[in-house]
């Protein structure tokens, strides 16, 4: 997968799960304030990403540092590279 394909898969997966408008999802979008998610949604966000990419990330400390959609893109790309 290219980085762009990874980003697109992340965005479409999250848009579907959380009923977000793709055009409003930019790398700078903050998950809580701008995309309107909360702590329960973050639990499901991890499940959605694990399902989409076939990895396990729930226990990763780096998850706690994620604030923006761009943080998710970079985190998943790094995980895919490391795989």
């Amino acid at each position: 997968m290219t980085d762009q394909e990874i980003i697109e898969l992340i965005n479409t997966s999250l848009a579907e799960e959380f009923e977000l408008a793709l055009q409003e999802m930019t790398p700078d979008s903050t998950l809580f304030d701008e995309l309107g998610l909360d702590s329960l949604d973050v639990v499901d966000l991890v499940i959605v990403l694990e399902g989409a990419f076939g990895f396990k990330i729930r226990e990763q400390e780096a998850i706690r540092q994620i604030r923006t959609l761009g943080d998710i893109h970079r985190f998943v790309i790094s995980k895919k590279l490391a795989a």
């Binding site: 009923e19 329960l40 639990v43 499901d44 499940i47 694990e50 399902g51 729930r58």
Partner: protein
Amino acid sequence: MRRVVVTGLGAISPLGRGTGALFEGLLQGRSGIQAVPEMAAVGGMRTRVAGLVPGIDPREIPRKFRRSMSNMSIFAVLACQEALAQAGVGPEECADGRTGVAIGSTVGSTRATEDFFADYFTDRSLERMKSTFFFQIMNHSCAVNVAQALGIVGRVFAPSAACATGCQTVGLGFETIAMGKQERMLCGGAEEFHPLTAGTFDMMNAASIGFNDRPQHTPRPFDRGRDGVVCAEGSGILLLESLDSAHRRGATVLAEIVGFATLSDPVNLANPNAAAIAGCMRLALADAGMAPAEIGYVNAHATATEQGDIAEGEAIAAVFGDAVPVSSLKGHLGHAMAASGSLELIAGVEMLRHNSLIPTLNLDDPDPACGPLRHLRGVEPVGVKALIKNNFALGGVNSSIVVRSLA
């Protein structure tokens, strides 16, 4: 004790969305029952009919609130919104601490439970369990989803007594307001259809199985040809309010709740008995301070089971004789379980308001074993403007509510 009145009604039923659709459908003698062929996929399932709610788009409820809701909560929230709108009760009153909730269901969402365990049993892993799953299966799911979605900060109760839930919640709300603990209570039941609900009755030989090719001819309360329950779904919500509060707000009073009783019948887990039912109705009348002659209509629970209709018919005849009009609305609506009592009570309030008593649909040949009753066979004007509504549950839970037009 304070007087308690009804100032708002909300109904999601097999006859459509809204109290208007419910009452119009009942007046027209429409059936909300349909064939559900996919029930054939369940091994051993003989009944293939149900009363399903048509035309609801859950997406009108924002995702933030909807994510924790199964269909039963969606029905309950929409019904509450309708009741609040009719009563003119807005977000301010919901947040004043004097508005509470008493809403129950038979169980949490069976659909959500099935979906979870279908996945869980593949590898017994929790890793795919969504955070909002539990909120859909917990027993107070409907009550808290309503409170969250509507910003209610008062008391939240979730009484659960299967098919008696609808009237028990109204009774609890009635007593809560009468005692001065809240000014307003959103009360009622909610239910979503799942094949296993119908399967539970089918397994006990209490579901209708002989009309799968003619779904609108079943259920048949009090009829000789009745062959059991038809399961349904929906939500009926009544906004109860102290009479003082209604007057202060200038709200239109739709009816007054004047009596409530609920009791346990330990004689048999599943078979209703006439003495206990009669006792429950007498207790409700005593609570209202009314004599049987002051009741102008009996809205029966009558689900169209062999034994249940006989026991209730005998009880009604014992308390009221054979002159008071009687009907069951299960013929139109099926049995919406936890929602049935409150949906039918809403219809009863509308009957008083519109001066039209609704007959039992599919009652073509009254069963004399159900007692000497004056079955309504067509729409009739209301005589005495007070009614009693019965609502019973497996497990021997009986409940009755007395309602009258405000004098």
